[in-house]
């Protein structure tokens, strides 16, 4: 991506757009876990990915600039809450809040989380399914 040169002696760097992310953004997201796919071209807040593997659902949130101590995760009656806040002087930080309502199929006690390279990954295990085959009951 080439950026044209704009002669401007007071600035040391030239950008085509000087993007200044807002210092604080608070996003209250209340989502039903089995909500239908929204318009993917509209996004508010950081990138969010919902994935499904064989035995769990995975929620990935982009939270660059936050370290582990600055992010708080709580499970409150089937609602997953994420709250993150950096020190006020961090230009790339700010405040973030989000919540997700989880369905009955999630095993809330087994939720684990990992933070790596600014991505928060939450593992939401599925409750073990009732066995598909009927169990035979022997008669004494």
């Amino acid at each position: 991506m080439r950026i044209p040169y704009h002669p401007n002696p007071t600035h040391l760097m030239n950008f085509i757009q000087r993007y200044q992310p807002s210092l604080t953004w608070v996003s209250e997201l209340d989502r039903l876990f089995d909500q239908t796919l929204r318009n993917p071209d509209f996004t508010m807040g950081p990138r969010e990915a919902f994935l499904e593997s064989d035995n769990a659902w995975i929620l990935r949130l982009d939270l660059p600039g936050y370290n582990k101590q600055e992010i708080k995760l709580t499970m409150n009656d089937h609602t997953l809450q994420v709250a993150a806040e950096t020190a006020a002087d961090q230009p790339m930080g700010g405040k973030f809040e989000g919540q997700w309502r989880l369905g009955e199929e999630v095993d809330a006690s087994g939720i684990s989380a990992r933070l790596e390279d600014g991505v928060l990954e939450l593992n939401l295990p599925k409750k073990p399914q009732a066995t598909a085959e009927p169990t035979l009951i022997p008669i004494q």
Partner: protein
């Protein structure tokens, strides 16, 4: 649980994941030089590429959080896997002396003012 996406959605996301996205960044300047902070979430330090050529700083990064084959993507607000950013530096800055550090998905670049551009006192004989 909602079903997985339609084939066209999968195509759209695959296409989106190959696009190069401009990352969010913040820039600050003072008398000593400039500091750039670039948000590159999902990029591991080894997948970061920083080059300086002809007064232009180029930042490239590839996210490492791909999705395994047998997983389903239910929702992804931004599937871009590649970041790219080109920054032109004026001659006052010495790009070859850029220092970089990377933590929590934020790349911090410090570019000092070049020696020639610093004010020098001229003695009057």
């Amino acid at each position: 649980m909602n079903a997985s996406m339609t084939p066209t959605e999968t195509e759209r996301l695959t296409e989106a994941s190959e696009a190069i996205q401009r990352p969010n960044f913040h820039a600050e300047e003072n008398d000593d030089g400039a500091t750039l902070q670039i948000a590159l979430p999902g990029v591991h330090k080894d997948d970061l590429k920083l080059t300086f050529q002809e007064s232009s700083l180029k930042i490239e990064g590839k996210r490492g959080d791909s999705v395994p084959e047998n997983w389903k993507t239910i929702r992804d607000t931004n599937a871009a896997q590649h970041y790219g950013l080109n920054i032109c530096l004026t001659s006052r800055l010495d790009g070859s002396k850029t220092t970089a550090s990377y933590e929590d998905g934020i790349l911090t670049l410090k570019v000092p003012v070049s020696e020639e551009a610093k004010p020098r006192e001229i003695q009057v004989s």
